[in-house]
């Protein structure tokens, strides 16, 4: 039985209809597979030992901070017991304690505001990713705005912001006082609530963050908060080069 030319054409059309999606299918499968395999190779070859080293250093830092806190507490106890011996020692102890409170070395509790900052959730066009995620500069802008609004104490995800604190960014990882953290960020700010809220509501301030919230879905919210607890700074004071004049 021989096929008519019309039947041949129909078969050819059917084959083409299947061929084009099949080629595309193959292309996509291979792209997907290559992306996956490149990532795995890199991870195995370089990242695993580096990742282990970074985690080990972070764990070491946590235990060093505990030791540091214990020693500070012990020195405080010795000072306090000495301050019962003389009036001068007692006066000195009061001054030290006041200064520790001002410098961020004592825990603070009180009312204020909480700011939450988070990457946009849900799908975002690839070209807009940078605008939809939080950067360390967003956190420095928020901290700056909080001090402007009269903040007395600030902590980001439990890390107290003091005179030596930096909000550092490596790749997509953010580090505050040497502690690695990732979104969502919760910034606890103790201070006068109305002034702080007005400072964050000011449309001329944090324009970039607010625009990215409205257009790209960046998570940014400021809310009134009561009974906030801001922990003390637990890192090194690191005064080695500077001498008082």
């Amino acid at each position: 039985m021989t096929a008519t030319p019309a039947a041949d054409r129909t078969r050819l059309a059917h084959s083409l209809v299947l061929l084009i999606p099949a080629v595309l299918f193959g292309l996509l499968v291979s792209i997907q597979w290559r992306t996956q395999s490149e990532r795995n190779e890199l991870t195995v070859r370089y990242n695993t030992p580096l990742l282990d080293a970074a985690k080990a250093l972070q764990n070491e830092q946590s235990s060093l901070k505990v030791q540091l806190a214990d020693l500070r507490a012990e020195l405080d106890r010795i000072q306090a017991s000495a301050s019962t011996q003389s009036g001068a020692a007692k006066d000195l102890q009061v001054r030290i304690d006041d200064l520790k409170t001002l410098a961020g070395l004592n825990e603070r509790t009180g009312d204020g505001v909480t700011i939450t900052l988070d990457d946009a959730r849900g799908s975002v066009a690839a070209k807009d990713i940078e605008k939809s995620i939080c950067h360390n500069t967003d956190l420095t802008d928020i901290v700056n705005q909080a001090w402007r609004g009269g903040a007395e104490a600030i902590a980001i995800n439990g890390e107290r912001i003091v005179g030596s604190s930096s909000i550092y960014c490596v790749g997509s990882t953010i580090m505050v006082n040497g502690t690695l953290m990732s979104p969502p960020f919760s910034v606890a700010v103790i201070g006068p609530q109305n002034e702080l809220l007005a400072s964050f509501d000011d449309p001329t301030q944090l324009k970039d963050i607010k625009q990215r919230r409205d257009v790209y879905g960046l998570g940014f919210r400021v809310s009134r908060a009561s009974g906030l607890r801001v922990p003390p700074y637990r890192g090194a004071l690191n005064v080695r080069y500077a001498t008082p004049r």
């Binding site: 990242n47 000072q79 520790k100 001002l102 410098a103 500069t137 700056n144 909000i167 005064v239």
Partner: protein, 218 residues
């Protein structure tokens, strides 16, 4: 029949195709922050930074152990612990920006257009590089210092206007801070790309004298 089979085959393939296209698009759009996905370069930088911080804490632990022992002995011998207390007070006053300080460090000179967010980023970068005390022109930066701008292009440090050219002086390790500022892809390099007409100079200094905070913390 035959034509129905063809339609079904095409539909199945199209469905697969649809699923794959969507998967591919999603893969590109989901931003993951897992440490596992950092590049080896980023991880190496992170490790160097963590290591530096851990060393600083270790040094302080050694110093505190020594001071704790000395204070304990002083009390036991009836001398009291005024010396240790005074030392602690001195250290805290430097840390809180309450005393004028001297020491080695670096100066970053900025001449031209600049803004308060860049100034805040520069201070953040200096702190990350271990700056112990920072001043902008004659205004000392404290733990609660904030930056702003006036309508006539001056910047403000704790509401006090500071006018350009700006001298940002930082006491700390001159080598570490100099490299942190001037490295390829570092903050000064970024500033030079953004503020094209502005001149940025970084120099190491053997002695810098910085004032105390003009308004002490309360």
């Amino acid at each position: 029949m035959r034509s129905n089979a063809g339609v079904i085959a095409v539909t199945v393939v199209a469905l697969f195709l649809g699923v794959l296209v969507v998967t591919q698009i999603q893969a590109q759009d989901v931003y993951s922050r897992s440490l596992q996905l950092e590049t080896p370069v980023s991880l190496t930088t992170l490790i160097a930074n963590l290591s530096e911080r851990n060393n600083a804490i270790k040094e302080e632990i050694l110093d505190l152990r020594h001071r704790t022992d000395t204070a304990r002995e002083a009390i036991a011998s009836g001398k009291g612990s005024l010396t240790e207390g005074e030392r602690q007070l001195g250290q805290l006053r430097v840390f809180a920006g309450m005393s004028a300080v001297s020491g080695a460090g670096i100066t970053v000179r900025v001449d031209g257009a600049f803004d308060e967010r860049a100034l805040s980023d520069l201070v953040n970068e200096l702190r990350n590089a271990g700056a112990e005390a920072i001043a902008i022109n004659t205004a000392r930066v404290g733990p609660r210092t904030h930056f702003g701008a006036t309508t006539d292009h001056a910047l403000t440090v704790d509401t006090v206007a500071v006018r350009g050219p700006w001298q940002v002086r930082a006491v700390g390790s001159p080598e570490v801070m100099y490299v942190a500022m001037t490295r390829t892809g570092g903050i000064i390099g970024q500033f030079q790309l953004i503020y094209k007409g502005t001149r940025f100079d970084v120099s190491k200094e053997s002695v810098l004298d910085l004032p105390a905070l003009a308004t002490p913390l309360r």
